[in-house]
């Protein structure tokens, strides 16, 4: 009998993943239906999850769009290599996010954010060193914002899959931010960032 209890206890242990997320239930939407206390039933379109999906998808697609623009316009090998990395990494992340959003029944945005469109336009008018510096400076800002967005959903999101996605991507985005800061430093003489 004690053996059976032990097995039951171990089984229970095994069903709680080490990376289980525990949000603050005080922040759940009043209408949230739950599969377990504080855990929303999958497929609901809660405000934080919906907002995260929208902002993350818009940000990711803008990265790809601006990366392509940079590949067309830049003659700087380091900048085009960075742009290629953005197209690849954010392209992959966008596909993962699309899958997660579909599984969760969360709507994906159909339009780019206004500031991203504006940035595309502004960069289109620049060439040479001016383009490189402006593109890389905008990449620093965009990745700073993405870091904030990922940190936000890690604590405030409700969909566990989206939170895991954010946790997985955070180190990569921080690395992109560091790469962008290094390039800005090389291109403009701005203070060099810490190395990590």
């Amino acid at each position: 009998m004690r053996f059976i209890t032990l097995i039951a206890a171990l089984t229970t242990l095994a069903t709680v993943p080490a990376s289980a997320q525990f949000g603050n239930p005080g922040g759940l939407d009043p209408g949230t239906r739950e599969s377990a206390p504080g855990v929303p039933i999958p497929g609901q379109t809660n405000v934080p999850d919906r907002l995260f999906t929208t902002l993350a998808a818009q940000g990711g697609m803008a990265e790809v769009d601006l990366g392509k623009l940079a590949q067309q316009k830049s003659r700087n090998d380091a900048v085009t290599a960075f742009a290629k990395r953005m197209i690849e990494d954010h392209g992959n992340a966008n596909e993962q996010l699309t899958q997660l959003a579909k599984q969760a029944g969360l709507p994906l945005p159909t339009e780019a954010a206004v500031d991203q469109v504006d940035m595309h336009h502004r960069l289109s008018t620049l060439n040479g060193a001016a383009f490189d510096a402006e593109y890389m400076r905008s990449q620093v800002t965009d990745h700073q914002k993405t870091v904030q967005l990922l940190l936000w959903v890690i604590a405030s999101g409700e969909n566990t899959d989206l939170q895991r996605f954010a946790s997985d991507k955070l180190p990569d985005v921080l690395h992109h931010l560091l790469m962008a800061q290094s390039l800005v430093s090389q291109l403009t003489g701005a203070a060099a960032p810490p190395t990590n």
Partner: protein, 464 residues
């Protein structure tokens, strides 16, 4: 993806080229705490149902990082003589590593191979997404017994075992009456007993300051609104609920100085002993006087640095020339415990110290580089903040129990006087013992101490 390209082109065509718009700001609860959206009963039920899994997750992380068994040193007690000091290194190493082989590697190699012991990483709050003050059981039980006030949260428990925390209740030493020694009578100071215990020992001004330091005020998790984590409507918490007897009971919360929530590091309550020599206050805040700290603490520790939330739950604005000054004057007479082996300038008295302790002091002042910040003549502080740049040793951004491990940046130098009395160590309590602390600094400062030197350093730290 083609939809997106079209979307970009379409929006581009529609927008006038002169438009220079800013985007929407990021979500509103990145900086500000959101208002509660659910009734209290429902939040409480959800929190209580999650509690077992929350605690299991945290103990999983703690056991992965540390050996938290009860292994006390022989004949080494904390200053009140009520609790032994724990011995040995408790942070776990990856298989196949030794502390020497780890210390022989460069920071880059350790980072790239992911070999930094997880116990050296920032320690998450027991429930990081919620955060807030968490008290140890001894404090909870004693406050209930004396005041009938409830400090027990329904969503989390304290996570370190009792033997890794300070003795309880800690002794109290006063700069104004050193000949009396410990004046606590072995009791925890509360709003009920403070007058009886301190009558005749402190001045009227200090007594009034003490009364205020022991008066509960509403706090983020302990208040009368639906946004609380204690079952009954609560009058709040007091300053000395964490700084028990002006020392620490190990209560922890999240730093008020960082946002968003996942980036906020855990804060282990610091001792108030020796405050009179301390020129900056708060791990990150660098407040320049204890008066500033005392005045602002109700907006920061109590309310997570969120004055908006305080306004809703019951803000307390102590009068600067009267109440704040009196609270500060009381705090400023709290002394370090006696250190019989130290001379007037904080150096070991050669007639009293053992050869091993003297060897430890030599390392402290030299090879170990400890005294570059912990200057003996300045009460083992330098009144500065420094950046240890631990992030050179690990890849930033990994998430552990909802805490994203990010660089800590500059943190205040804490005093080492009476250090054996205040485990766990570092600003977030990530290091259970003094031996862990020696290994931590040996690694990050690259001092390459031998085992004999590390043991001597621990022996020296015990004399402080």
């Amino acid at each position: 993806m083609s939809v997106w390209v079209k979307s970009f082109s379409t929006v581009l065509l529609l927008l006038p080229f002169s438009l220079s718009a800013f985007c929407d700001p990021l979500p509103p609860d990145l900086t500000y705490r959101p208002l509660p959206t659910l009734p209290f009963s429902r939040v409480k039920a959800a929190d209580e149902a999650q509690k077992a899994a929350v605690m299991q997750r945290q103990s999983g992380l703690m056991n992965e990082r540390y050996d938290l068994s009860d292994r006390a040193m022989q004949n080494v007690m904390m200053s009140g003589g009520r609790k032994p000091v724990q011995q040995g290194v408790r942070v776990k190493l990856a298989a196949g590593l030794t502390w020497d082989s780890l210390a022989a590697m460069s920071p880059d190699e350790i980072r790239q191979k992911g070999l930094l012991p997880p116990g050296f990483l920032p320690l998450p709050h027991v429930k990081h997404a919620t955060g807030g003050q968490v008290f140890p059981d001894r404090q909870i039980d004693e406050i209930r017994r004396q005041e009938g006030r409830d400090l027990r949260r329904f969503d989390v428990n304290f996570d370190f075992p009792d033997h890794i925390t300070a003795e309880f209740p800690p002794p109290i030493f006063l700069t104004t009456r050193p000949e009396l020694g410990d004046v606590s009578r072995g009791q925890l100071l509360t709003i009920r007993n403070f007058y009886e215990i301190m009558n005749g020992i402190v001045t009227p001004v200090q007594m009034e300051g003490l009364r205020l330091l022991l008066t509960p005020f509403p706090q983020e998790e302990f208040n009368q609104t639906e946004d609380r984590k204690v079952a009954e409507q609560s009058n709040g918490v007091t300053c000395l609920d964490c700084h028990a007897n002006f020392h620490t009971n190990g209560a922890f919360h999240l730093t008020p100085d960082v946002r968003p929530q996942a980036a906020r590091f855990r804060l282990d309550t610091t001792s108030l002993r020796g405050l009179y020599n301390q020129q900056i206050h708060g791990s990150k805040r660098s407040l320049r006087s204890v008066e500033d700290f005392t005045e602002f603490e109700q907006r920061t520790a109590y309310f997570n640095g969120d004055h908006m939330s305080a306004t809703r739950k019951g803000v307390h604005l102590p009068s600067r020339p009267n109440q704040v000054a009196m609270m500060a004057q009381m705090q400023n007479i709290i002394d370090f415990p006696p250190a019989r082996k130290l001379d007037r300038m904080g150096k070991l008295d050669r007639s009293k110290a053992s050869p091993q302790e003297l060897a430890g002091e030599e390392i402290f002042l030299g090879k170990g580089r400890c005294a570059e910040c912990h200057i003996p003549q300045l009460s083992f502080m330098d009144n500065m903040m420094h950046d240890l740049k631990l992030e050179d040793f690990y890849q930033i951004g990994k998430t552990y129990n909802d805490l994203a491990t990010l660089p800590d940046g500059p943190i205040k130098t804490f005093t080492l006087r009476g250090i054996k009395d205040s485990p766990p160590y570092l600003h977030d309590g990530r290091l259970p013992t003094l031996a862990d602390t020696v290994e931590f600094f040996n690694l990050i400062l690259g001092t390459k101490l031998t085992q004999q030197e590390k043991d001597a350093l621990v022996a020296y730290l015990l004399t402080l």
